[in-house]
């Protein structure tokens, strides 16, 4: 029997690409955020006298801690190739719920905290159901959820700030362990969030499914992964962490605000992507997110520590760095070998 297909020129002439360059390319890609972090740290320690002081380094940590809680959830979502645009609004809502229950309804602790976390989780779950069951893209589903959460916040607060907060929120947001100069509880909450996220992603079956779903939904599905459940789960997780971040940030600010802080959303996505987690899913993780957070914190804080930079330009510079990082991310993702049979 002759096998005629062998003579098909398309197949016969396609040369196999050298593998080594691809592997090295990937290694360099994987480490690019680390180089960025080191370069930024070096730059600021040379140009600023205050940057390297322990007080300032501590500052960086607490500045990025709220972001780190958001980013833990966002990493799960981005790894599946989806997005959650509702986190800032959900956080505003949960912060307001916890304060409202405590201050206006005199509900005993820890119920306000639990209700707030439950609300965040539920909103994430609803976004998940909307996007899997009704096939609404997560971009739209979470955008709608963001409006709903924002509206509920306004409705609850009647536009007023609540400054009487439950003690748990204050403790989580601005408490310290070991006296007035002790370690910030907020940093610990952030570290624990990241650690749990890390362990789940790296060591559980669910974590594997998250990566596989992001790498290729059809392939994951054919291997029996219920990608709908995974997508719903990551959005639920993101909702939970947004809820936690919301409560914590009221404690940090000393009041529950009637409006969302929109920069939370942008900063979170920016930090996660800066770390090297791919927007199209499948690549990245909590370690990358930690590095991304540190880059973000270093950049923002470092700019504050150089007196000659106009503080009003800070956003512009941060934006440019984010933009460059995204371009690199996209370029390298396009170059990485995926399937040679295509």
């Amino acid at each position: 029997m002759t096998t005629q297909t062998e003579k098909n020129p398309e197949i016969a002439v396609s040369p196999s690409k050298p593998l080594i360059s691809g592997v090295w390319m990937r290694r360099i890609t994987a480490l690019a955020p680390v180089w960025t972090l080191l370069a930024l740290a070096l730059f600021f320690s040379l140009t600023s006298q205050t940057f390297l002081r322990p007080v300032n380094l501590n500052n960086i940590l607490s500045q990025i801690s709220t972001l780190a809680i958001f980013a833990t959830g966002m990493t799960f979502v981005l790894l599946t190739g989806e997005i959650d645009l509702s986190i800032a609004a959900v956080a505003a809502l949960t912060g307001m719920i916890s304060a409202y229950l405590f201050a206006n309804l005199k509900v005993q602790e820890p119920i306000p905290l639990l209700v707030a976390l439950g609300t965040g989780t539920l909103m994430g779950f609803l976004s998940g159901i909307a996007s899997t069951r009704f096939r609404i893209p997560t971009f739209m589903a979470t955008l709608a959820m963001s409006l709903i959460a924002g509206g509920l916040t306004t409705y609850l607060s009647k536009g007023r700030t609540i400054s009487q907060l439950p003690e748990v929120a204050v403790f989580l947001g601005s408490g310290r362990i070991g006296g007035a100069n002790g370690f910030r509880v907020l940093v610990i909450v952030a570290a624990v969030s990241l650690l749990i996220g890390y362990l789940v992603l790296k060591y559980t079956r669910f974590g594997r499914y998250v990566y596989m779903t992001g790498a290729s939904k059809p392939a994951a599905r054919l291997a029996g992964v219920n990608t709908n459940i995974i997508l719903t789960a990551v959005l639920t997780i993101s909702g939970f962490f947004a809820g936690l971040a919301g409560v914590v940030s009221t404690g940090r600010l000393g009041s529950a605000l009637p409006d969302a802080i929109p920069s939370f959303l942008i900063d979170t996505i920016g930090a996660v992507v800066l770390g090297g987690t791919s927007l199209s899913g499948g690549r990245g993780g909590m370690v990358q997110t930690l590095i991304g957070l540190l880059i973000y914190g270093t950049l923002r804080n470092g700019l504050d520590n150089i007196p000659s930079i106009d503080p009003l330009l800070k956003d512009v510079i941060t934006g440019i760095v984010l933009f460059v990082a995204l371009v690199i991310n996209v370029l390298l993702a396009g170059r990485a070998p995926r399937d040679k049979t295509a």
Binding site: N8, Y203, R208, L222
Partner: protein
């Protein structure tokens, strides 16, 4: 008929590396003629077509248009000279109206630069009426019409854009018999309209009906150019294969005995119609059809990836209703490796992870350790002989054949009752092909069922015990493989 050819190719040769894809091929096309090009996969049809349509710009030999030498530099060039190409996959926009599709990319405009809808609708109506398609409403979105009509509109588009030569690549493979008739009527109209058509098809009966002349290619060489009136399908098959043919139909098999693992009854959708078959324990059933025959979508339908309207499926005696995720199918003992390896494997992930992915829930613990997974995956990876055998390599780094072995290895660890594979040997070299097929046969010998869906006759004939042939969405034959040969398969298409 005008005797001066409008298009002439003289001693065209084209090499790819050490493969002679075309070897001194002559071809000519007269005005108002339908000239069919037939041959096996790899005979050189596609290469010749790509030279004609300006895709391949480097070749030896002469290309004459209206008797003058031309050299095309791009498909755009070809279109400018009046050579239009209709690809197998439709490239119409279902959301746009019929008229918009006809003028796609060249919308008629007013002198203000806005689209001149009135003129566009009028011109479209005139053109359609002239070619006998006045029943189409040019204002309706094209997607409302059947696939065959969409194809007709795509052909008309090349006419409207001024093509004198239209190359049709397997235009009927996805069409129902009634739609094929409509296309043949269109070709008759085009002939009256003095358009010349190069018609490429696997369906020889259709070719003999439609064409004025037929050119047969084999192994990159022209075997013959015949008048269609003086030939028939069995003569064509013998020319295509280069030997005497034995295309006597073997006896049909009505039912298969044995322990039925997969039974499909009267499955019907828009692309396949009333399909029934059984896969027994320890048996490979091959489903053969030309691309577009509906057999690939049939396989997808078993896994909830293609919607069917009626019919039922039974797996090992239990009713089976496909769900969105293949998890349900896997739990019921049905596994699938789709024709696109990119869709069945995770290219960036390690081999072992691709193998264990469907079985992570069987490891029992919430946190699979690499050592556990390697232990699970190693025997299967060894069994299929993946080269290089390092289970930590990403799948994307393997050759196509080895990727396919991984796709099979995944199902050897905890075997399903029936393994469904679409196009298991696509794009592989001879060695890899026979390795993959022998793995499938071994799987069958171990007492499982295998369903192989393919458009490659060699693959079907090598691996199957029984064969079903599908054409235009219907089952046209059901035979024992031992009674079969390639000649019969070609005749049945």
């Amino acid at each position: 008929m005008n005797a001066t050819p409008i298009l002439q190719l003289r001693t065209i040769s084209k090499r790819f590396g050490n493969i002679q894809a075309l070897d001194h091929v002559d071809f000519d096309l007269r005005e108002g003629e339908t000239h069919a090009l037939v041959g096996e996969n790899g005979a050189g049809k596609s290469t010749l077509m790509r030279i004609l349509s300006g895709v391949y710009t480097e070749y030896d030999g002469e290309f004459l248009l209206d008797g003058k030498p031309v050299h095309l530099h791009s498909p755009h060039d070809a279109l400018g000279l009046g050579i239009g190409m209709i690809h197998q996959e439709l490239s119409v926009m279902p959301e746009l109206s019929v008229a918009e599709n006809l003028f796609l990319g060249r919308q008629l405009t007013t002198r203000w630069g806005t689209i001149d809808w009135k003129k566009m609708y009028n011109t479209a109506e005139q053109e359609l009426a002239r070619l006998g398609f006045e029943h189409l409403d040019v204002r309706q979105p094209l997607g409302k019409y059947a696939l065959g009509t969409q194809q007709v509109v795509e052909v008309l588009r090349t006419i409207v854009s001024g093509a004198r030569v239209i190359i049709m690549d397997e235009p009927t493979s996805a069409l129902s018999p009634a739609e094929v008739e409509r296309l043949i009527q269109l070709i008759d109209k085009l002939r009256e309209d003095k358009r010349s058509i190069i018609y490429i098809s696997h369906f020889l009966e259709e070719v003999v009906r439609v064409a004025d002349r037929i050119t047969v290619l084999r192994d990159g060489q022209k075997v013959a150019t015949l008048d269609a009136a003086e030939t028939n399908t069995s003569h064509l098959i013998s020319l295509i294969l280069g030997r005497e043919v034995n295309a006597t139909l073997p006896p049909a098999v009505t039912s298969a005995d044995g322990h039925i693992l997969l039974e499909v009854n009267n499955l019907t959708s828009d692309v396949f119609d009333d399909v029934s078959f059984k896969v027994n324990k320890g048996e490979v059933l091959g489903i053969y059809g030309a691309i577009g025959a509906g057999h690939f979508d049939l396989a997808r339908a078993l896994f909830g990836m293609y919607r069917f309207d009626s019919g039922d499926i039974t797996v090992d005696g239990h009713r089976f209703k496909p769900k969105h995720s293949a998890r349900y199918a896997i739990q019921h003992g049905l596994a699938y490796a789709i024709e696109s390896r990119r869709k069945s494997l995770l290219m960036d992930e390690a081999i072992y992870r691709n193998v264990t992915l469907p079985h992570l829930n069987r490891i029992g613990s919430l946190a699979p350790r690499q050592s556990q997974e390697l232990k699970l995956a190693a025997p299967a990876i060894q069994m299929v002989n993946v080269q290089p055998p390092d289970p930590l390599n990403p799948v994307g780094a393997l050759s196509g054949g080895n990727q396919q072995k991984v796709a099979i290895a995944r199902w050897l660890t905890f075997p399903p009752k029936v393994l469904v594979m679409s196009e298991p040997t696509r794009g592989m070299d001879v060695g890899a092909k026979s390795e993959v097929l022998s793995i499938l046969r071994k799987f069958r010998n171990d007492g499982y069922g295998v369903l192989v869906v393919s458009s490659e006759p060699e693959t079907i004939l090598t691996v199957s015990d029984r064969v079903i042939v599908m054409s235009h969405g219907r089952v046209v034959a059901h035979m024992e493989n031992k009674d079969l040969n390639k000649d019969v398969l070609m005749r049945l298409l």
